[in-house]
């Protein structure tokens, strides 16, 4: 699954640590999502979309 997390975070000038704190996850979790090594759970994906005030499909989209 592809995502725009790094771009969205950069637009707000947040560090990975700041975003992790806002989401209640570890910094490595944010890093793993941004680099595509880990696909978040549905609740976390919704939390991310809500944090950026976007629909979930505006943040995540399936590969291919």
């Amino acid at each position: 699954m592809r995502n725009r997390l790094r771009v969205l975070r950069a637009e707000r000038s947040w560090s990975q640590g700041e975003l992790a704190d806002r989401l209640g996850v570890s910094r490595q979790t944010v890093n793993a999502i941004e680099t595509g090594r880990y696909d978040p759970s549905l609740p976390l994906a919704f939390s991310i979309a809500r944090l950026f005030d976007l629909a979930i499909e505006q943040v995540f989209e399936p590969e291919g």
């Binding site: 990975q16 996850v25 570890s26 490595q28 979790t29 890093n31 793993a32 090594r37």
Partner: protein, 142 residues
């Protein structure tokens, strides 16, 4: 002792891991004390049967509490950390099962006896290795 996946901890995970580590350490110390007491009970009359039961019971209680703390750590863990730990536990369980089932055949071929403690050591080492491998798999670039 920090687990290999320590970089994946939130503040709550770190606190839970600390609780688990402390009880694990207490259980290890109690286990060593109970083992030593049972081994030398014939030579040391001060080690009464009641004391022997107390030492073994203490080791068991501490181990049960450490297990409870680990379950709490796992249940409340950051979701990526939980995945890493589950992959590590899977590897540990698989390695333990393989060794427990197959090593007796090697013993029949003349390999040294491993015993229950040996299997437990293999399981724990595989858990640690699995933890390191999974943490490595999901990290990178930073």
């Amino acid at each position: 002792m920090k687990p290999f996946s320590a970089g994946f901890h939130t503040g709550r995970d770190a606190r839970n891991a600390g609780g688990f580590n402390r009880w694990m350490l207490a259980a290890a110390i109690a286990y060593i004390a109970a083992t030593a007491a049972l081994r030398w009970r014939a030579a040391l009359p001060a080690i009464s049967p009641a004391l022997q039961w107390l030492l073994v019971g203490t080791a068991l209680l501490f181990a049960v509490e450490a297990t409870r703390r680990y379950v709490l750590y796992l249940r409340q863990a950051d979701e990526l950390l939980r995945r890493i730990q589950l992959e590590a536990l899977g590897l540990g369980f698989a390695a333990g099962a393989v060794v427990a089932l197959l090593y007796p055949l090697f013993e029949l071929l003349g390999a040294p006896a491993l015993g229950g403690r040996g299997i437990a050591v293999v399981l724990l080492l595989a858990w640690a290795a699995g933890s390191w491998l999974a943490a490595r798999r999901y990290s990178g670039g930073t």
